[in-house]
């Protein structure tokens, strides 16, 4: 009797297991014309996206988009990859450019190349490259971009009698001047927790962390440009004239707010951060192009920026693409994106939707968007690889360790390169010698 029960139990378990694996295989990810009304889920962390979806839903009764608000950043990417693996990914997902290759490599997002020829013209070539990864495929529709610029306290720059630095050498000089005048005050901070920030500065310097040649990947994270950027900041930190606390911590917020940090090399989405983290600075901050490596040059990089991808498991791929296209290229939608979600749209015509400066800058930098647009055209990016998660994690651990041990920053860059290459080799990617 007892054994029968056991056998039954075992059978039940097998059945349960069988059912769940059967469920995984069920969704046929082939694009089919939607029949009848469909419902799409959309994972995003942009503010007020639910309001924008409501506008779409009102106009398109056949395709209802439900927004599921996510936490942003690397966690969101990990969550999406896990969901995709488990077979319950959302139809649409906000994908940061640096994570898109991991999504593609995990086969979690659909190739939209067949239906996006018309959209391509809306975007600058460099941006479009971020969603094609330099291949024939198109894996997402660009939504926003994050060209980098220098945010600085106009009033305090005057107080400490420093000019807006045009080159990184001038930046270093200014850092020394400020810190000498008041040891509690720093021109800025080096953040060992923000690999995206560092990647943007490396892009400005002309780095190419990943590249595809033929059928193989080339990893050049420890190239001359990146090493130069790392050593520059490492020198300033070692001198003690630049702070080394991570961005977005309460400590850093306080420093920005009370004027003990005077500048922040950041991206075009900076106003939102400043407004919430440094409310006392309203009307005191200005923007300028990033300092240059060589006087007279004019380059910037990208920090952040994201796209809208359609998951490969979506049963309503055509409908999802229709919404993604509307959201990121329709003038009315772009207007909403700017006003409600506070994004800097990637589509060329979206940038004309930018009128009034962010309230935070209304007094101190009324031409904020014009500045941003000018700087935006100078930004250059690079191809992101299929294991950015590994690289970014190695950044945090590597630079944390370098700061703790007071080691040269070039060692941290080397550790990023080694970790990235080792991971790709382990997975079996074809690597160029």
């Amino acid at each position: 009797m007892r054994t029968t029960r056991l056998a039954l139990a075992a059978l039940a378990v097998t059945l349960a297991a069988g059912c769940s694996s059967g469920g995984d295989a069920a969704p046929e990810p082939e694009a089919a014309a939607p029949t009848g009304p469909v419902t799409l889920t959309y994972w995003t962390w942009a503010p007020n996206m639910d309001k924008i979806a409501q506008v779409w839903n009102a106009a398109n009764p056949g395709i209802t988009v439900t927004v599921s608000k996510q936490a942003g950043g690397d966690d969101a990417a990990a969550k999406f990859l896990t969901a995709a693996k488990a077979g319950n990914a959302p139809d649409l997902v906000q994908a940061e450019y640096q994570h898109l290759p991991s999504f593609v490599a995990a086969d979690a997002v659909a190739d939209l190349a067949a239906d996006t020829a018309a959209v391509k013209g809306e975007y600058a070539e460099g941006l479009w490259g971020l969603v094609t990864l330099g291949t024939e495929g198109v894996y997402a529709i660009p939504q926003d971009s994050g060209p980098m610029m220098l945010y600085y306290r106009k009033d305090l720059f005057e107080k400490y009698k420093i000019d807006v630095p045009k080159t990184w050498d001038e930046y270093a000089e200014a850092a020394r001047t400020v810190h000498e005048a008041d040891p509690k005050v720093y021109l800025g901070s080096f953040s060992s927790k923000d690999p995206g920030w560092f990647a943007g500065l490396a892009q400005q310097a002309g780095a190419q962390w990943w590249s595809i040649s033929g059928d193989s990947w080339k990893v050049g994270i420890d190239d001359a440009a990146t090493t130069r950027v790392a050593e520059f900041w490492g020198g300033l930190v070692a001198e003690g004239v630049i702070d080394d606390q991570p961005y977005f911590t309460p400590e850093w917020n306080k420093a920005l707010n009370d004027g003990t940090q005077l500048s922040w090399p950041s991206a075009v989405w900076g106003p939102g951060v400043l407004e919430s983290n440094a409310p006392d600075g309203k009307g005191k901050w200005g923007v300028a192009p990033l300092p240059q490596w060589t006087a007279g040059e004019n380059h910037s990089g990208f920090w952040g920026g994201s796209s809208t991808a359609v998951s490969s498991g979506s049963k309503n791929r055509a409908a999802a693409l229709k919404f993604a296209t509307w959201l990121n290229t329709d003038p009315a939608a772009l207007d909403l994106l700017v006003k409600e979600a506070f994004v800097y749209p990637a589509a060329g015509k979206g940038q004309t939707a930018l009128g009034d400066p962010p309230a935070y800058f209304a007094e101190s930098q009324p031409d904020f968007w014009q500045q941003a647009a000018t700087i935006g055209t100078t930004a250059r990016g690079f191809t992101f690889g299929p294991n950015v998660g590994v690289t970014y994690n190695a950044y945090k651990d590597g630079f944390d360790k370098a700061l703790k041990d007071k080691a040269p920053f070039a060692t941290a860059v080397k550790s990023m390169q080694d970790a990235t290459v080792a991971d790709m080799q382990k997975s079996g990617f074809t690597m160029a010698g």
Binding site: L6, T135, S216, G389, F429
Partner: protein
């Protein structure tokens, strides 16, 4: 046959996940070419590769050594305080016993993440009311984290010990008093020996919690340069699974952690068994 529901539950929620973890630990992804495009990524057998790599990983063992230091601090201080408070509350002369009991227990009701954040804010140099110490510096950070765990865990352990104390017949104490024992002597000679099983129990719980330390370092990590993504073994599992996307290595490392915590807790029980439960081997 009355065991059937239990067996089903055991298989479904215990054996199956562990079996699946074991299965995953034997797999890995194999990428061909650029790894983009369809079908370029496959799951293949890895044999024991993941397990040997997990065992051979220096970072994992460095993590263990950090956790041993942290755990020794937490165990000694937390259980020491818990025992002290329990004995004080149980002694005849204490005032405000109810209030003190609740006050000491209350931090246990605060979720670990919240506790770590609360303390994290107190540790940050520009926000802390206590100046002069870099709480998140390389040397102090272990103490700072242990402090959070002690703050949160003492109350619970105290309560376990205290309830056990209350269960001891009062007549023992009277007997001791008639023999001329002081309160201190009663505590040391009567109460503590009778408490040993409860102390063993709280130690095992705390040991397992220590092996699994994750919340405090993970929550404090964004505030500090001194906590790496693999500070504790469990953090390494999290990193492998969700940051670098290697579920298979994570599964292998989980198995290693499970083995270690099994060895540690059973090893401890074995060592103290004779004394704690009066069993004769």
């Amino acid at each position: 046959m009355f065991l059937a529901p239990a067996i089903v539950l055991f298989l479904l929620f215990f054996a199956l996940p562990i079996g699946y973890t074991g299965y995953l630990s034997l797999r890995r992804t194999k990428v061909s070419g650029l790894g983009l495009g369809k079908g370029s990524r496959q799951e293949v057998w890895a044999g024991a590769d993941n397990l040997t790599a997990a065992v051979a990983d220096g970072e994992l063992w460095a993590g263990w050594s950090r956790v041993v230091g942290y755990g020794a601090l937490v165990l000694v201080v937390m259980l020491g305080l818990a025992l002290l408070f329990a004995l004080l509350l149980d002694s005849a002369h204490v005032r405000l016993a109810r209030f003190a009991r609740i006050a000491i227990f209350l931090p246990y009701a605060v979720p670990g993440v919240v506790a770590s954040l609360l303390w994290g804010f107190l540790y940050l140099p520009s926000l802390t009311p206590i100046g002069g110490i870099d709480f998140l510096g390389a040397t102090a950070v272990t103490f700072s984290m242990a402090n959070v765990a002690v703050w949160g865990g003492t109350g619970f352990n105290m309560l376990v010990l205290y309830t056990n104390l209350r269960a001891i017949p009062r007549s023992y104490y009277e007997a001791a008093r008639i023999d001329g024992a002081s309160e201190l002597a009663i505590a040391l000679r009567v109460k503590i020996p009778l408490l040993v099983p409860a102390i063993v129990l709280t130690t095992v719980f705390s040991l397992i919690a220590t092996v699994q330390v994750f919340t405090e370092p993970t929550t404090l990590r964004p505030f500090s340069n001194t906590i790496s993504s693999t500070w504790s073994p469990l953090m390494k599992v999290y990193r492998d699974a969700f940051v670098t996307g290697d579920l298979y290595s994570a599964a292998a490392t989980s198995l290693v952690i499970a083995a270690v915590s099994l060895v540690v807790s059973f090893g401890f029980l074995r060592v103290v068994r004779g004394r704690a439960f009066g069993e004769v081997r």
